[in-house]
């Protein structure tokens, strides 16, 4: 994504998300001593007497005002203009695995456009028996599928290649969301156009592009196109949001987010990749010797502790502590997550909230009894192919510092004894 990570301009002050203010949490809710009578219980509260909103107050609801800080944020210095930029999902404040659409990260190359269903057209052209045009209504008449998949920008954690940089999991790992999609398999639409004209499908490609000004064209090998690629129009039960490609986007399970073309308008069957701007000058990974990898589509297994983290410090002091995080793999299901609290000296297997599913986020927990000791917290994902999330050092050994994309390294949070958390690198 971002055009130039190395050209950064530091912001003015440190961001600790109120960690210092919260401190050890002596006066926060839930810490009252047993002998005090809690006026929230002993006194009749306003909300227990008067009435609340009627059912006509909020035809479509937003989160309650007390959650207004759980929003997407962007990093100003990252890109030249917010129209061609990215923001980050507030994963420090979410739990479970489904990302609500309203706070799921956005990445636009020419801004989020408004495209009515009535004005929507999808063209299938190129090496097909009959070049076709579908309307939105047409798409809703094909047999549908429903799947949960994560979408991760290839540049997620990209700012951390050269060192610990952004102090918040939202910024280090928030270029990701996980939604339940409904749509039509791309293979169904390709079959409708007919692939006999393409001959031997081995080595054939599709080129997909969006209706926005960037068009964001990408080439995808036919094997993937016929496998699990989805032409999606619903996410988390409702229509896609404008910023996620309303009315129709491509879902390319496990592969970098840039290929998930939004406002999908055209699929061309071809005998070679186009080598478009987004698959040559961007989304290619430059190694230390100056040679760059291309076609690095799959997102390797990765995990991160979302809480505690710099934006979600420990505010309750010693005692029971829920360590929680997310794990995922673009190569299949997450099978296991290990957690260390001592910077990798000893590891403990985390509890998966549910068994991992292919190319979807998995929530993990480790329930501990924190005694106030300083911790170096890390998580390490394993996937069904046997891949184990590497350390930053191991990744750098192979890729150097200038890859920008596909940084799936193990993240370290330094938990201080007062509960504050900082993004660090350790030996």
């Amino acid at each position: 994504m971002a055009d130039n990570f190395s050209d950064k301009k530091p912001s003015r002050r440190q961001f600790l998300a109120g960690a210092a203010a919260l401190g050890t949490g002596a006066t926060t809710a839930g810490s009252l001593s047993a002998s005090d009578d809690d006026p929230l219980i002993t006194e009749v509260q306003e909300w227990a007497q008067i009435t609340g909103d009627g059912v006509d107050a909020t035809p479509y609801g937003l989160p309650i005002e007390f959650e207004k800080d759980v929003v997407r944020r962007n990093v100003g210095w990252l890109t030249a203009d917010t129209i061609s930029s990215i923001n980050f999902s507030p994963i420090h404040a979410l739990d479970g695995t489904i990302t609500p659409q309203g706070c799921a990260f956005e990445r636009h190359h020419s801004g989020a456009i408004e495209l009515r269903k009535e004005d929507y057209r999808l063209m299938i052209n190129g090496l097909v028996d009959q070049e076709l045009v579908f309307t939105y209504e047409d798409l809703e008449r094909f047999p549908r599928e429903q799947h949960v998949y994560f979408c991760e920008c290839a540049a997620n954690t990209g700012m951390e290649w050269a060192g610990a940089q952004l102090n918040g999991v939202q910024f280090t790992h928030g270029m990701i969301h996980n939604m339940e999609y409904v749509g039509v398999p791309l293979r169904t639409l390709l079959n409708e156009a007919g692939l006999n004209a393409a001959g031997d499908l081995k080595g054939k490609w599709i080129f997909v592009e969006g209706a926005d000004a960037s068009s964001n064209g990408r080439s995808i090998p036919m094997e993937k196109a016929l496998d699990d690629v989805l032409v999606a129009f619903k996410a988390n039960g409702e229509a896609l949001r404008k910023e996620h490609g309303y009315p129709v986007r491509l879902v390319v399970p496990g592969w970098e987010g840039n290929m998930w073309v939004k406002w999908l308008r055209r699929v061309e069957v071809m005998d070679a990749p186009v080598e478009s701007r987004e698959e040559t000058s961007k989304y290619t990974d430059t190694l230390a010797d100056g040679i760059s990898r291309k076609w690095t589509w799959a997102m390797d297994a990765k995990s991160v502790v979302t809480s505690p983290s710099p934006q979600s410090p420990i505010s309750h002091g010693k005692g029971p502590l829920v360590i929680s995080g997310l794990a995922w793999s673009g190569r299949g299901a997450v099978t296991r997550v290990d957690i260390t609290i001592d910077g990798g000296k000893n590891w403990h297997e985390a509890r998966l909230a549910q068994p991992g599913t292919k190319m979807a986020l998995t929530r993990f927990y480790l329930d501990v009894e924190w005694n106030g000791v300083e911790m170096f917290l890390q998580s390490r994902a394993h996937d069904e192919t046997g891949y184990v999330q590497p350390s930053k050092e191991e990744l750098r050994k192979v890729r150097g510092l200038n890859s920008i994309y596909h940084n799936n390294c193990i993240q370290t949070w330094w938990i201080k004894s007062n509960g504050e958390v900082e993004n660090v690198e350790i030996s």
């Binding site: 530091p10 961001f15 299938i124 076709l132 610990a164 590497p390």
Partner: protein, 253 residues
């Protein structure tokens, strides 16, 4: 085959039953037939079979094509099918040189990319950076990084200028691309870039790419025997994000 026949029988029986009940009810509540109406005797049995068959065909999934969508017209395909491949497929007839291109560039592109394609602020620099890819801070431009000239033509035509995409004519695109090449010292100022001279231009980083080799180069990451205890002796902080201090501030605080 047997299964579908069974299903057919069951659904036929169901439909028959429903119709029987319906007719029974309908019989009771319909108004009387006019006196001069003629009652046509019907072969009820075969009628029901026909209806049942119609329902069964509704619930049977379609095999093969759905006959949805419509044929794209030639003009429609031509309007959208604008991608240019490395071998020149899709490249329209036309031409332009860096002199014309400079004018277009300064009017339409320099606002972001700078007069010399050097890139203003955080906007992409398009020129320079040759032989910097292995440096600490590589400068990736059309000249230093982009492997194919077709990519530049394709992108300028379809996605640029930023904020008014698809507004350059084919000749203007040739001229603009020529100016970008000239800014990278890849062509002389009198070189006319056209669909015919396109492949006279050599892109310096054409051979600078390899296909994803992670499964080989990183095969050691597929390692089931991970260390779980006493994996290292000492842990020290070697870098802190708070020291670098580039995190956006919370608007609330």
């Amino acid at each position: 085959m047997l299964k579908s026949r069974e299903l057919f029988m069951i659904s036929s029986a169901c439909v028959f039953g429903i119709l029987l009940v319906a007719i029974n009810f309908a019989d009771r509540f319909v108004t009387q037939l006019p006196e001069n109406a003629k009652i046509v005797p019907m072969d009820l049995d075969s009628e029901f079979k026909l209806i049942a068959a119609a329902y069964a065909s509704v619930v049977a999934p379609r095999v093969g094509k759905f006959d949805l969508g419509r044929a794209a017209t030639k003009k429609e395909v031509a309007a959208w099918n604008r991608d240019i491949s490395p071998d020149g497929t899709g490249l329209p007839v036309g031409s332009g040189d860096a002199i014309d291109g400079e004018e277009i560039f300064s009017e339409r592109c320099a606002f972001c990319h700078g007069d010399f394609a050097e890139g203003l602020d955080n906007w992409p620099e398009l020129a320079g950076g040759l032989d910097t890819l292995a440096d600490e801070d590589p400068v990736k431009t059309v000249g230093s990084y982009w492997p194919y000239l077709s990519t530049t033509w394709d992108y300028v035509k379809r996605s640029m200028p930023f904020g008014y995409a698809q507004s350059l004519t084919d000749d203007e695109v040739y001229a603009t691309v020529a100016y970008i090449l000239y800014s990278n010292d890849l062509i002389d100022e009198d070189f006319v870039l056209s669909n015919e001279s396109f492949f006279d231009v050599e892109m310096p980083n054409t051979n600078g790419f390899i296909i994803d080799d992670r499964k080989i180069a990183e095969s050691h990451f597929w390692n089931k025997n991970v260390c779980m205890s006493d994996c290292k002796n000492e842990v020290k902080i070697i870098m802190r994000a708070a020291v670098l201090d580039v995190t956006p501030e919370d608007e609330e605080s």
